[in-house]
Symmetry: D2
Subunit: 316 residues, 4 copies
């Protein structure tokens, strides 16, 4: 679906995750997934994947319960930032400017129609690794840590929302994203929508929340370099008593090779590998999956796990 707005948002920057078990969640992200700490702020710890050029990929915040905090998107230019802020304000979803969290400059806060907190920024601090994390190759942000899964990047956020479609439309109309795939129920309702800003086939995903709640999270995802990393991750999860919800397997939608875990705070974490898939067509028409097609399960026949439709965070 061509979007005349072009590429106003460059990419997903970072996301905040709430956890009621901050120490165990931190251990999960650092030791099991292989992220690196990069400072703290009050009850939050900043964590980064090794290929992130910015300050952090994840802000892990101790809280009473689980769920997703603010999602940060980087604009493509100062002008794009100004244009998107105007569009968000026109849409009545703006919150206002702040000085910006650690690592980013002036930041505009807003909410998606479902109420998830979001922010847009242009200025960002390029990560300067300390000596012991300096990479051997200068075209890489940080040394590859031979620790745990070793995820490369924060890949996407999959939100639960009262209406997937109206939130997907907000990404399209107001943020300039495009829809690559979606699920349409027999009733005609679009119950899930995958949107992207660049050539990765999705960045922000909306799924209808079966509880009718607002502002919840289905999962956040980290990408690995290879499918073998995902298989290895399954062994690492097994040895570390991390709950494996489903996978490894290949999604029919988007064809992503996946593994779903629950981090100790209860949030669902996907480890994903796109295996080379990118969307190049600027006029890509959304692929629509019917209820009957969804009933066939995942790409190689695995039934979609029940808990995909019963577990979200925070619990309700």
């Amino acid at each position: 679906m061509s979007n005349s707005l072009g590429h106003e948002v460059a990419h997903l920057g970072h996301v905040e995750l709430f956890t009621p078990r901050p120490q165990e969640s931190l251990d999960f992200f650092v030791r099991v997934l292989g992220l690196t700490e990069n400072g703290t702020d009050g009850d939050s710890v900043y964590l980064r994947t090794w290929d992130d050029y910015e300050h952090h990929s994840l802000k892990l915040t101790a809280a009473a319960t689980s769920g997703v905090g603010r999602t940060a998107l980087r604009a493509s230019s100062p002008e794009a930032l100004a244009r998107r802020v105007a569009a968000i304000e026109a849409r009545g979803l703006g919150v206002g400017w702040t000085d910006g969290d650690t690592g980013v400059g002036p930041t505009y806060l807003f909410r998606d129609p479902d109420g998830h907190e979001m922010e847009l920024y242009w200025e960002t601090e390029w990560y300067q690794p300390p000596e012991h994390l300096r990479p051997a190759l200068k075209n890489q942000a940080q040394a590859y840590p031979g620790r745990g899964v070793g995820v490369r990047r924060l890949d996407h956020v999959n939100y639960l929302a009262q209406s997937a479609e109206s939130n997907g439309r907000f990404v399209y109309d107001t943020l300039g994203g495009r829809v690559t795939e979606q699920i349409m129920l027999d009733t005609g309702v679009i119950s899930a929508q995958w949107t992207h800003f660049g050539q990765k086939s999705y960045d922000l995903v909306y799924t209808d929340d079966w509880t009718g709640s607002s502002g919840r999270l289905h999962h956040i995802a980290f990408a690995t370099d290879t499918r073998e990393d995902i298989l290895r991750a399954a062994d690492i999860a097994l040895e570390n008593e991390v709950f494996i919800e489903t996978g490894p397997h290949k999604h029919a939608i988007q064809q992503t090779f996946f593994l779903y875990l629950y981090e100790p705070g209860g949030n669902r974490i996907e480890l994903c590998n796109p295996t080379g898939r990118l969307i190049f067509a600027p006029d890509w028409e959304p692929v629509t999956w019917t209820q009957a097609e969804r009933a066939k399960g995942q790409a190689w026949g695995l039934k979609t796990i029940e808990s995909f439709h019963t577990h979200g965070t925070p619990p309700v």
Copy 2:
């Protein structure tokens, strides 16, 4: 390097390759690499990778000698096409409009400063696979062929040019691309430049031609899904007596996992896998490699093969 032009070119569309041994070259692309024939035109055969949404990825043309023919780029929109044509004409490198080759609409022909033939188009025919090539998953262009290497897409073109830098600047200034990496000799000369249009870290590459000739080719590259596909490709090449020039190994520049072959017509073909690397920063500063850094060889220490600096097509 931010480019205020934004994403005017969406992606590399297809490329034409000349071969003095058309039957053997065809066999190489179909049986060894796993491309699929999709029609002919005079002395040319159209070939496609399984994940190409357009008519073809490669036009293989019987000719007196080897080398690269026309490279086709798809514009991001009709407006972007018009803007780029105006810019090319202003630069004095335009050739003019044609009706377009099989599978594409109105096409604007031009040359890069070094004289390589190029074309820009917006209208394109989305590929409709015949029954026996219909994919099992509807978000895929064509059934995955379990034949040979099974490359996913045409990935990039690496041109030889009298001046890599002036051609890279043309991509930047006139086509709206961006430079991600480059080599700078001790003399200050930029001897190679990698440019891209989207999030893949390169699409068009220019390398100084040691012979001082114009319009020649260093290589064209096809991407595989995995590094294992590249290792398997090396065995397939070995069994089929395809000349392996170097690899498999990992480039320091761009960190691509690579294997270089010569197809029967003499053209160098790279099989490449980026292993998850994408460029997200809209203001990425080119990474500049010095002569001393280049002297260290590839990422894991393999010396850069001599023939990289002696073999180009057509031979001179």
Copy 3:
């Protein structure tokens, strides 16, 4: 479990499979799995994997129904052959000597306690590939075919039997194999037993037949070089409308990475990769899995598929 008989049987040689749909089964083995035809005999076609040093790995025989025919084991030496024949005769399970099928010398026919046909031989014809199948590396039996899955070897046979344990005991007592793993029901019944002859962790497996029948087959398995080959095989199966029963996933028992398919004749075919696992200890004690442990499913949590306990061949 140490076996004072030592290594009397060297390895699984080949197996015969019955199919009511011979042409489609042949297409499956040749085009989808990548085996190579090596002659015919009446209603049978001989097929070989590329790393088999003998004449064939599989004898595919047209028949009224599906199921397993004769399984051939190669003895470790002429003396071992003589000793095993004597032991089989003493056990009352011998049938007698024949001249041997294509590719093997004098062959002793017998049955396991459940009635599955078996044979033992020493003399064998080393495979001499024709010119077009000559491998590039001389330490390999045949050129690697870049076709379909490209399985490396016949890996194991998993039989259904009225009593897994009494058949496993026969392998141990009479053939000199050893038990590496087994399942013990809460009743104390050993309902499945994995036996091996060398360092591979299993070669012949017996599983209790839920129908109480004799002589049936659970599956035969072919090994691939890598886990990536299994993932790729799943895509190939998908595109070729081959029924995927379960997987890819990792077995808890034996830790094999697996994919189960049904070939067109109805027989279950496993594609397996041991990922480096070998059994070195000559006094390995069988690992016994309880019913409760089995209830946990496969290694990464996949539930064992129901049809594992309802589908065997021939159907009853």
Copy 4:
């Protein structure tokens, strides 16, 4: 090459390595390769790979210089041990019985013709992991450590010797091993010989020492689960400033996928993956590679690195 002695030696047990830089070597084996400490003895540290069922795989001993200490082989049975001791004594290479090092019972010391220290034993202590190293799957010796390369097992030892052939013959005649591959110079001299005891295609290798010295080491090797582990290991080596001598690539001989590193003490360490290759034939004839064939380099064309013929330990 059939060996009527059968399988008298079950497998390579462990090896001792000398290092003049014990702390850095220890860090290399634990943090970079992912081995686990299992006790100390004087100047030695015992280290184990995660799939070793015995006490240790490697004994790392502080010493004035580098090189290989004692290599331990486990006999297939108490009777095989007695028979091999008698044969070694008859050959005049015996040293005598000791109580055995940590983890093994009565041990017979001897030397190969070149003077490398060796030992044979039957009794061994099965490894009992402490709570924090208990594996999730009960058919595995120790939890898989998500640390560094994570090598699965000690794979083989490659010795330098004054005469490869006379030492290979000792393995064949006296220890009951078999020769799988060898190099024959144009002079008729066998300059390297690969021998094995089970189905792995090699366990002990002898290479002619260009210095004419005795008792030296070419390398010891650890096996990984996958080729991807080797590629990942190259990145880990790169980031940890471990010297990469050559690879990753595929050997023509034995077809092993390899990466060669120098540990901080100067010893060459191979990381290897056989990619499914096993030797099943009990009468396998040695594959002999000529000087001309060797001159072609490795499987995919990489030239054999010069330092393979100049670097051994200890230095002379």
